[in-house]
């Protein structure tokens, strides 16, 4: 293998990995506040992208995306108020089940709203064949958009969770909800806020990846499983690590494709995940054995 080819595999891994990473970030926001995993996160992406695609027929692209993010944010809040908040005796098992149910219902609703066809947003800059060349290999400009948006989101989230009062309050809720409430934190509102935030970020992610992946009503589950894998690989709750883990998984898959057959890349990804779960459940990048929750 020559250098351009190795580079090309690397860039291909980054393309796939950037998608995984941006999906995984959304998982961590809700996890950081509530300690639950939202299995409907993948659907937030698709709802966001689909809404933007519909809006883009009437308004310019940036406005359409903004509109889609706002609408999905509202949807996220609504879902928390109407469903999550009402779950009685909210154990992890119950909440997992509710979010799985939500993901199915949202997906089926989308089938009846946007039908079964694949849609996509236009490339943000240039066309589908616009590429950047690095050392003889090529990468789509849209991938740079995905990486850029991920970086901005992760930085903003890190600052938010670390330095703002609201962010700290949200983290407090995750650590010990009762204690947080005793400190005068409105824990219910924090949970709602986290759903809104992750829905909005999911929608943005859905829009940014739509030109690369196309958008179809039933893609959410596949994306969510990958995002969930990456979130666990990085260590639940750690957004920065999630991005690293996403790129790691993407590169690993590219390596499998280059050396073996692409048919096995999914299996390899899952086997790695199972190994991580068994031997290092707190994630690839955790310094301690216990779970780390710095956003």
């Amino acid at each position: 293998m020559n250098l351009p080819q190795i580079m090309q595999y690397g860039l291909s891994g980054i393309t796939v990995g950037s998608v995984y990473a941006i999906v995984a970030v959304g998982f961590n926001i809700i996890y950081n506040t509530t300690g639950i995993i939202n299995f409907a996160q993948g659907e937030f992406l698709i709802v966001g992208a689909m809404t933007a695609i519909s809006l883009s027929h009437v308004v310019p692209l940036p406005v359409a995306i903004l509109g889609a993010v706002l609408i999905t944010t509202a949807l996220g809040g609504l879902i928390e108020l109407v469903f999550i908040r009402r779950v009685r005796d909210a154990s992890v098992l119950r909440l997992i089940i509710v979010t799985i149910g939500l993901s199915i219902v949202i997906r089926e609703a989308m089938l009846h709203i946007w039908d079964e066809k694949p849609w996509s947003l236009p490339y943000f800059t240039g066309t589908s064949s616009t590429t950047v060349s690095i050392l003889g290999a090529y990468i789509s400009v849209q991938v740079l958009w995905v990486l850029g948006v991920s970086a901005v989101i992760v930085t903003a989230l890190t600052l938010f969770f670390r330095y703002t009062t609201t962010g700290r309050a949200m983290r407090a809720c995750s650590d010990d909800r009762m204690a947080a409430r005793l400190c005068g934190i409105n824990d219910r509102w924090m949970v709602t806020l986290s759903f809104m935030l992750s829905a909005g970020i999911g929608a943005l992610a859905g829009c940014v990846i739509s030109p690369i992946t196309q958008t179809q009503y039933d893609m959410g589950a596949t994306l969510a499983i990958k995002g969930f894998t990456v979130a666990i690989l990085g260590g639940l709750g750690n957004s920065m690590a999630a991005v690293a883990a996403g790129l790691f998984l993407g590169l690993l898959e590219a390596l499998v494709v280059s050396q073996f057959a692409s048919a096995y890349k999914e299996v390899v990804a899952i086997v790695v995940l199972l190994l991580i779960l068994v031997f290092r459940p707190s994630g690839l990048f955790a310094r301690r054995a216990t779970s780390v929750r710095t956003a």
Binding site: I36, I37, F83, R86, V87, R88, D89, V92, L93, R94, I96, I97, V98, I100, G101, L102, S103, I104, V105, R107, E108, A109, L111, H112, A221, I225, F228, T229, I232, L236, A263, Y264, E266, V267, I270, V271, L273, L274, L277, V278, P281
Partner: protein, 355 residues
């Protein structure tokens, strides 16, 4: 006194006969086809109920065990060894009496493993897989366990889609009937409808007896204590890990048995049996039944699968299951059978509200 727990089994057996008579009287015996299929799915649900309701372990990969059973019998009973007759392995198997020669629908002669050895192999293989997966995975909790079982299901799904011997996307068809004993056989053709109705129900009742026996034994009490507080159970000297692992394997074996028998009944199996959505459906059914309620899970397993297989939900099939998951968790976390209004009804029937 312990016999008391089996009274419902006798009642259920009677009801099964009554249902048959009712169907026959109304000329609707064709419903038996879907009831039979649903009964095999109910085996998975009973196993999952033991695992989730009593041992408190979530599994998002139970369709994987179902498929492990189904695919094993499908491969063994359809793989044609005719060309390999002279090889030592085939000769040895032939002498052992595990091979059978038969003709398929197109008149071709097939030499394959006969159904009973195939069935036993399927059960043993699944138990081994469950042991290998369970050993490390059972230690995990919450999301990590959910993810690990989901991952296991995905691996089986990928194998089914990727391996040539498993038929890839098309699955395996042309699986022969399963001759159980004398004239009894698992066979999906119309003339065998009534006997298959009873075969499937017998399998369900046997599974129920097994499961009831387990939850009412020492093991069952241990499991319940694990579910309530694992630390407390542990401090009482209960080997929580071993009990959970045993339950995991038992529930996998029940799923595999269901998969193997349904594969013979349908004459085929495909990768759609191993999707995440399938595992989620089993989960939904256990939730509707009321988690730690074997009878509830079994009844819902049959009822919901029956309606789904008949296409009653039309294009809203998946949506119905999703809505059920949400609705139950929101409004009736103890399951549909424990909803107060229904309880009034049941107490009227039983004349004693507690027993």
């Amino acid at each position: 006194m312990r016999l008391r727990i089996y009274y419902p089994v006798i009642a259920a057996a009677l009801l099964i006969v009554v249902l048959h008579l009712a169907l026959a009287a109304t000329g609707k015996t064709f419903y038996m086809t879907q009831i039979t299929m649903s009964a095999y799915y109910a085996l998975v649900v009973i196993g999952l109920c033991l695992l989730m309701g009593y041992a408190g372990q979530i599994s998002l990969g139970h369709a994987g065990f179902f498929a492990a059973g189904g695919y094993t019998v499908a491969v063994l009973t359809t793989c044609n060894l005719n060309g390999l007759r002279q090889t030592p392995l085939v000769e040895w198997l032939s002498r052992l009496g595990v091979l059978v020669s038969w003709r398929d629908l197109y008149g071709n002669e097939v030499l394959s493993v006969s159904p009973w050895p195939a069935f036993i192999a399927a059960i043993l293989l699944t138990a081994l897989i469950a042991l290998a997966i369970g050993l490390p995975v059972i230690r995990l909790k919450g999301h990590y366990l959910a993810m690990a079982t989901l991952g296991f299901g995905l691996i089986i799904y990928r194998l089914a889609l990727g391996a040539k011997v498993l038929g890839q996307a098309d699955g395996i068809s042309g699986v022969p009937a399963f001759h159980l004993l004398g004239e009894l056989q698992i066979n999906g053709r119309t003339p065998f409808r009534i006997q298959n109705y009873y075969i499937a129900w017998s399998a369900v009742l046997v599974a129920m007896v097994l499961a009831l026996n387990l939850v009412n034994s020492r093991v069952g009490r241990a499991l319940r204590s694990i579910h309530q507080s694992e630390e407390a159970a542990h401090s009482l000297g209960i080997d929580t890990y071993r009990y959970k692992l045993a339950t995991f394997i038992l529930s996998a074996v029940l799923a595999a048995a269901g998969g193997a028998m349904l594969t013979h009944y349908n004459g085929s199996i495909g990768p759609s049996e191993v999707t995440v959505m399938k595992s989620v459906r089993y989960l939904a059914i256990v939730a509707v039944g009321g988690m730690a309620n074997l009878w509830g899970a079994m009844i819902m397993g049959i009822l919901l699968n029956f309606l789904s297989l008949r296409g009653v939900f039309g294009s809203f099939d998946d949506a119905v299951f999703g809505a059920i998951l949400i609705g139950i968790m929101l409004f009736a976390p103890q399951g549909l059978l424990r909803v107060p209004k229904l309880q009034v009804l049941t107490s009227l029937l039983s004349r004693r509200s507690h027993g």
